[in-house]
Assembly symmetry: C2
Homo-oligomer: 156 residues x 2
DNA sequence: AGTGAAAAATATTAATC
DNA sequence: GATTAATATTTTTCACT
């Protein structure tokens, strides 16, 4: 791990996460520094891979994505060929916003965002026809209570 | 919902999500338009709530957050008082990046990001001492296969 | 490593078609 | 509503401490 961060770095990261549209001047003021050091630190953290990228977060419902499912998957197949095909299937499908390989008796969890339950079923049928899975449980979100991308960093 | 989007709007949103650091000129070029209309549309979508906010996504592991848990919660209590306290507990804890109320026999799912398993246990003990829950299952992520905030929009 | 000023690039507004 | 031009802001570099 090459990049070492101090408290000022963490304050800057917190500001960038909180509002990525601020000017350097605003960030410098918030963190008690000035423009150039803030800029140098941001560049350092970007080059070092601490900052992955910059994006705009949209309102899924306003765009017609009314259904969010968490999908729990158990599989009996664990060979490399199956796993490769499964991973490719997940990566190629834009409805899959997140996918994790798990410890324990559930093997994978997915977060799938689609227009409605019918669209989920289409996704599901396509997935299981492409790769064999032993058991699938879909959990339907009724309400998004909280959603943030801000990591729980501690600053002095 | 007041905001009606056409194909150019969706192309712009896709670019903003893909790389939120591009200049208006670059976006205009990508979507086949010019600066001013792109800017007007972005403002309209921001004012209309389609664009929620702008942020920087960080590398959790580089910052020392090595553990990600999905937490499945069943509860026997469903009265308003309990629910209010539970929601406040989730919203006030920065380790909880996502929380959804579910349909079906599992009532809630959380995404919790912490430094390590010990930090998760601390979080868990604090949570259950604050609000009573019937059953908790923690799924530990071994590997993040995919992670994106880009919604699966279709453009012409 | 931080400060302040200068230069370059970009965002924002306005005028024009 | 799009295009181009004008202005204001902001980013980026640089010289100095």
């Amino acid at each position: 791990m090459a990049v070492r961060l101090d408290d000022l770095d963490r304050k800057i990261l917190l500001e960038l996460q909180r509002d990525g549209g601020q000017s350097l001047d605003d960030i410098a003021k918030s963190v008690g520094s000035s423009k150039t050091p803030v800029w140098n630190r941001i560049r350092k953290m970007r080059d070092g891979g601490v900052i992955k990228h910059q994006t705009y977060l949209l309102d899924a419902e306003a765009l017609g994505f009314e259904a969010c499912f968490f999908v729990l998957i158990r599989t009996s197949e664990h060979d490399a060929g199956w796993q490769g095909r499964f991973l490719n299937a997940l990566k190629s499908r834009p409805e899959v916003l997140e996918a994790h390989r798990l410890a324990g008796d559930i093997d994978y969890i997915l977060k799938v965002v689609v227009a409605n339950a019918r669209a989920y079923d289409t996704f599901y049928q396509a997935l299981i026809s492409e790769v064999k899975v032993h058991n699938v449980t879909a959990l339907l979100s009724m309400e998004e209570i909280k959603s943030t991308t801000v990591l729980p960093m501690e600053v002095g």
